[in-house]
């Protein structure tokens, strides 16, 4: 129906109100109205039967997805929070353990340093003692050598001097003294 036709219908009704009634005066064709009403109802029924359920189902599914996503997000958030707490707890424990390890390492390092110093000191003392012993041994050896060399020298000198100065008279005196001493 175009606007010119409707306007003509309305104009005819207005020119003859008694002939067409109020609906006609308003430009409403009751048959057309009934037809449109029935068509609208059929449309509503069809929409309600075939279209709305699809839309509702899609909307419901979307809503379910949104709800699931929301739940998942909440759960993820909770998990993240728990994980953050765990991480914080682990970090705290790790820091504590690290502190303990560092403290232990420091103690061990101090102990090692102390042991090394003690060992070095002991070794140094031993080296000094060994050096003293060696010096003492060297001195003793030198004294022995000196003693023996002196004896050799004295014996050699005595032998040469006596060999040159010994005479029969002196030898007789030596023999007499020896046998007298041996009695």
């Amino acid at each position: 129906m175009d606007y010119s036709t409707s306007f003509n219908t309305f104009a005819n009704a207005a020119a003859d109100p008694e002939k067409t009634g109020i609906l006609a005066s308003l430009g409403i064709d009751w048959m057309l109205l009934a037809f449109q009403t029935i068509a609208f109802l059929i449309l509503v029924v069809l929409l309600g039967k075939f279209v709305y359920p699809v839309f509702v189902r899609i909307i419901d599914e979307r809503q379910e997805k949104i709800d699931a996503a929301t739940n998942a997000a909440e759960q993820a958030e909770q998990t993240a929070a728990a994980a953050q707490e765990d991480v914080a707890k682990l970090l705290k424990e790790a820091r504590k353990e690290a502190s303990a390890i560092v403290a232990t390492a420091k103690d061990e390092a101090n102990a090692a340093i102390e042991a090394s110093e003690k060992k070095a000191k002991s070794r140094a003392e031993k080296i000094v003692a060994d050096a003293h012993d060696q010096i003492e041994k060297d001195v003793i050896a030198a004294r022995k050598t000196l003693h023996n060399d002196t004896i050799d020298l004295v014996a050699m000198a005595t032998e040469k001097i006596i060999g040159k100065t010994m005479t029969g008279a002196i030898d007789d005196k030596v023999i007499a003294a020896a046998v007298k001493e041996a009695k």
Binding site: I151, E159, M166, I170, D171, V174, I175, V179, A182, K183
Partner: protein
């Protein structure tokens, strides 16, 4: 073949023979050859000297660097008599230049080494 006698019996017999003034050299040599004991001659002579010493006759080996004077001989004999109680002493003198001076007297069972060489050796023995 001669009967094999002990060295002690042989020494005692020949010591008595020597004291009696008899020459034993040939007899002893013959016995040792006959009994095939020539290798023991030094031991037997030493045993004879010991047997003589037991009978108051001492044979002493006296070693010096030069010939003994009478004065030295007298001193040595006096020493031997004093230490062994010998009635008779026979000195067997040996010369060894290496002794330098002094005297070494060896009698059976005893020895006196009063030589300069011995004293020098004692001095050297003190080396450490």
């Amino acid at each position: 073949m001669a009967i094999r006698l002990s060295r002690r019996k042989i020494a005692s017999y020949y010591a008595d023979e020597l004291i009696a003034g008899r020459d034993i050299v040939r007899s002893l040599a013959a016995y040792l050859v006959d009994s095939r004991r020539l290798r023991e001659i030094e031991l037997i002579v030493r045993d004879i000297e010991s047997a003589l010493a037991d009978r108051g006759v001492v044979v002493a080996d006296v070693t010096t660097s030069r010939s003994l004077t009478d004065q030295a001989k007298t001193a040595i004999q006096t020493y031997i008599k004093a230490t062994t109680g010998a009635k008779s002493i026979e000195l067997r003198q040996l010369i060894d230049d290496d002794l330098i001076g002094g005297v070494k007297v060896a009698v059976p069972g005893r020895e006196l080494d009063a030589t300069i060489r011995h004293r020098l050796n004692l001095l050297k023995a003190t080396k450490v």
